[in-house]
Each structure stands twice: as C-alpha cells, then as structure tokens.
C-alpha cells in the first residue's frame, strides 16, 4: 500500500515550514515509520541543512526529473535513522525546472517506498506552492500568531479549497503563552475560529529550535525541548493516535533566566 503524502506549506515565509517538515519527518522515523522527505524549494534548499545532511548530497530532485539518475540513487539516508530518506532540492536550478506533473510523479513514486512522504513547500502561492501541494493527500498549514501570517494562511486554505479540496490541517507555530495571556499575541482559539480548519498542533516558542537547526539536529531528538515534544505529538496524531493537546506551560522565571543564559 502506498504511503501518505503530506505537504507542509504556509503562504508566508519564515513561519517554520522547514522546521516543521524536518521535525515531523524525524518524529515519524522515531515512531518506526519509513519516511521520505522531499525538499520542494528548488533554488533555496534548506531541509538538508536542517537535517544535517547537506554534505551527503550527490544528486537532487531535478536530476531525477531529468532522468539523470533513479529516485533511489538520489535519496540521502539520514545518519540517525536508516528508515528516513531525503530527496534534496537542486540549489543551482530554479522552480521553473519542474512541473506539477513531475512532482506528482516523483512524490507518488516515493510513496511506494515509504509510509509517509513529507513535502516541504516553498513560501508563496505561485508555481512552487502549486507543484508542492498537487500530489498531497493532506496539507499541513503552518502559521504564526501574527495577523499577516494568519491572513496568508487563510489565503492558502482558500486556494486549496478552490482547486483540489485536499484536506488541510493547521499547525500554529511559535506561540508564546505569556504574550497570549497579556493579549499581545493572537491566541490559538482566535486563529482556529478565523481559519475554520482542524488544528493538529500548537508549538510553543522554543530557543532550542534555533540551536537545533544550526547544529543540524532537529529539536524533536531532544526530550527536553518543549517544541520537539509537540512535534512528536503531531506525528502521533498524523499516525491516527488520539493524543490530547497538552496545556501550554508558561516558562517559570527560573526557566526564563536559564533560557536567556543559554
């Protein structure tokens, strides 16, 4: 049976698509699933860096599409989980080099080899967004508790509804509970009310995310990372488990002090 194809997109850039893709891919691998993640951001590839696999890349998705090598040959095996494979984007090419049909074909071919295929979409709502969401069985929309990001998420949901009716679920990223309490940040309920789609995770702001990305060791691998643990919960929900939403904890004064010292 073919695996499920999940595209991570957001409309707005910088809200955490690649972080989400990297963490969910690793979380699924942690749960024992066979995972292939595809970096669809041709020309601005990042997923390989975040996974710490940059220096293992030999072939990329454009090479596969152009028939220079087989899909299996271009897949980069993760150094931690042998069941996690990355299909890197081409860095020296651009999004015009692949079509919706190309991505559809490659993603479904990958789905034959894995339980889950994660596609990291480029920002925006143009060609890159369209080919990244085309093959998806499920679209995860990442947003950030800021009016502009929510507006863009709304736009993306509208586009998806207008084209393929692909089911979509929402991830709210980088919530800061103390700001929400002081009414300085949109709270999750307000965002879900506006967007009217299923919420699958609320990821707290976590300084470990940045350090983890810079080290190529996503936070999900760190049991002390609050955000990492939420990504693990999201993966379990995607897997069909009924995982209750854990309440967001405000960091204590000590934790805040400790965090700022790190």
């Amino acid at each position: 049976m073919a695996g499920k194809i999940i595209t991570v997109t957001s409309g707005k850039g910088g809200v955490g698509k690649t972080t989400t893709t990297a963490n969910l891919s690793l979380a699924m691998a942690l749960l024992g699933k066979r995972v292939i993640c595809i970096d669809a951001d041709i020309g601005l590839r990042n997923l390989d860096v975040m996974l710490g696999l940059e220096n293992r890349i030999v072939y990329d998705i454009v090479n596969v599409i152009e028939g220079r090598c087989a899909l299996q040959k271009a897949l980069v095996r993760d150094k931690r989980f042998s069941e996690l494979l990355l299909l890197p984007a081409a860095q020296t090419r651009d999004k015009g080099d692949i079509t919706e049909d190309d991505m559809n074909r490659i993603a479904h071919q990958a789905a034959e080899l894995a339980d889950y295929v994660f596609i990291d979409s480029p920002a925006g709502i143009e060609h890159g967004f369209r080919y990244a969401t085309k093959p998806a069985d499920l679209v995860l929309i990442v947003t950030y508790p800021e009016v502009t990001a929510v507006r863009d998420a709304d736009r993306v949901i509208g586009l998806l509804e207008a084209s393929d009716h692909t089911p979509a679920k929402l991830i709210i990223n980088r919530i800061k509970p103390e700001l929400v309490r002081r009414n300085e940040m949109l709270d999750a309920d307000a965002i879900v009310d506006l967007l009217a789609i299923d919420l699958i995770g609320i990821v707290p702001e976590d300084s470990m995310i940045l350090a983890a990305a810079n080290r190529g060791q996503p936070a999900v691998l760190d049991p002390h990372s609050a955000a990492g643990q939420v990504f693990l919960e999201i993966a379990r929900r995607l897997n069909g488990e009924d995982v209750p939403f854990s309440p967001l904890k405000e960091p204590s004064i000590l934790q805040r002090l400790f965090g700022s010292l790190k």
Binding site: G43, L44, R45, N55, R56, I57, V58, K79, Q91, T92
Partner: protein, 221 residues
C-alpha cells in the same frame, strides 16, 4: 673599401658587433653605413662588441660610443680583446662578461583555464571543460565543476568537482579548503561531521592511492 669590415647580428642579449679587419677607421665607417641603412631599426638597442684579440685604444672606444649614441644605441658590453681593452671598458662602466643566462623552466602548457574574479554564492555555479582559476570564495551551496584543475584564491565552502570528465590527476587548491563536498573524477569526499573552527591554511587536494587527500601548503626552504 671592404664591405665586410664587420658583421652585425641580432641576439636576445643585444646587437653583436663583430669587427673583421684590423683598421678601426674602416670598421667605424662600415658600421655607420650599416646603421644608416638600417634607419631606426636598431634604435634604443644595446650593442655587444665582440673582439677577437684585437686591441683598442681609449680613443677608438670613444669614437665607437659616439657613433652608437648618434644612432641611439648603447655600447653595453665588450667581450674578448686583451687585458687593456677589458680594463678600459670597465672604466667606462661597460660590462666585459655577459650575465649568466638563467635557464628558463620549460613551461609546457596544461591547457586552457577560465579565470574568474567573483565570489560564488549559494545556488550559483561555474562550469568549464578545462581548468578553473577563481579569485573569490565558493560559499556553501555553490558549485564549481571543471574538467581539469581548480585553483581558488579564496575560501571554499561549497561543492567543488575537479577532473569531472574522469581525470584522476586533477587537483583542487584553495587558500582555505573547507568544502561541504569535494569531488575528483568519480571519487567523493565529504566534510567531517564535526564542524570545528580550524586555522585558515592553504591546501591542495588530490587523489592518492585511490582516496582524496588534502595536503597543507608549506613554504619551501
């Protein structure tokens, strides 16, 4: 008057004047005719007077110098001749021995090279079927591919591929060789996982015993 009072021969060192007959007067007038015929051809050149045991007086030498100066030539060296002539020449600051010619290293051309003065940023690539010389950096995410050698006056952090058509003798040199991946012919070497800060040092990478090795450049001597 004998036309063959002297020979004049152009050499890389200068114009060699070879007087053939004894009378200096005849030599000078023959020389003057030759120089007039040549027009401005020899202008600005230097002359090597090559004697074969003939002796010259101070006046003879001055006459020659004056004649040469008229034609904008310099009496640069006096070779041969007896002790007195040699001594005289040295007095006038004329050399009596040619500088030992330095043997030219044989420079066999290795083919053509592309010279580029530009830093390659992420996503940019450079390809040339022969050698590449780059003045600038290769940032992470940039790619340089050459059929031959790659020489970088700068920092290499991206992907470099030398000998891309299969030349296993190709080398990659850089002032700071710290690539995410290095390829020579069909071999691939990747950066160590632990990114340590290391001192910047010029290195050359090549294939040795079937593996890619990088050797630091060290000043000789």
């Amino acid at each position: 008057m004998d036309q063959r009072a002297l020979t004049l021969k152009g050499t890389p060192e200068g114009l060699v004047l070879h007087p053939l007959i004894g009378s200096w007067e005849e030599v000078l007038s023959a020389l003057e005719r030759s120089l007039n015929e040549a027009g401005s051809f020899f202008q600005g050149g230097r002359v090597i007077l090559e004697l074969q045991g003939q002796s010259l007086g101070e006046e003879d030498l001055q006459l020659l110098r004056a004649l040469l100066e008229q034609h904008e030539l310099e009496l640069w060296a006096v070779l041969g001749g007896d002790e007195a002539v040699q001594h005289l020449a040295r007095m006038y600051g004329i050399r009596t021995r040619l500088p030992a010619s330095t043997p030219q290293p044989s420079t066999k051309p290795l083919g053509n090279a592309l010279l580029s003065a530009k830093t390659l940023r992420s996503g940019q690539s450079l390809y040339f079927p022969e050698h590449i010389t780059l003045v600038g950096d290769i940032n992470p995410g940039a790619e340089v591919t050459a059929g031959g050698n790659i020489v970088v006056w700068g920092r290499v952090q991206g992907v470099v591929h030398a000998g891309a058509m299969g030349d296993t003798t190709a080398v990659i040199c850089a002032l700071d060789l710290n690539p995410s991946q290095l390829r020579i012919a069909t071999l691939i070497a990747r950066a160590p996982e632990e990114k340590k800060r290391r001192p910047i040092k010029p290195e050359m990478a090549m294939i040795r015993d079937g593996v890619i090795v990088a050797e630091p450049w060290t000043p000789r001597g």
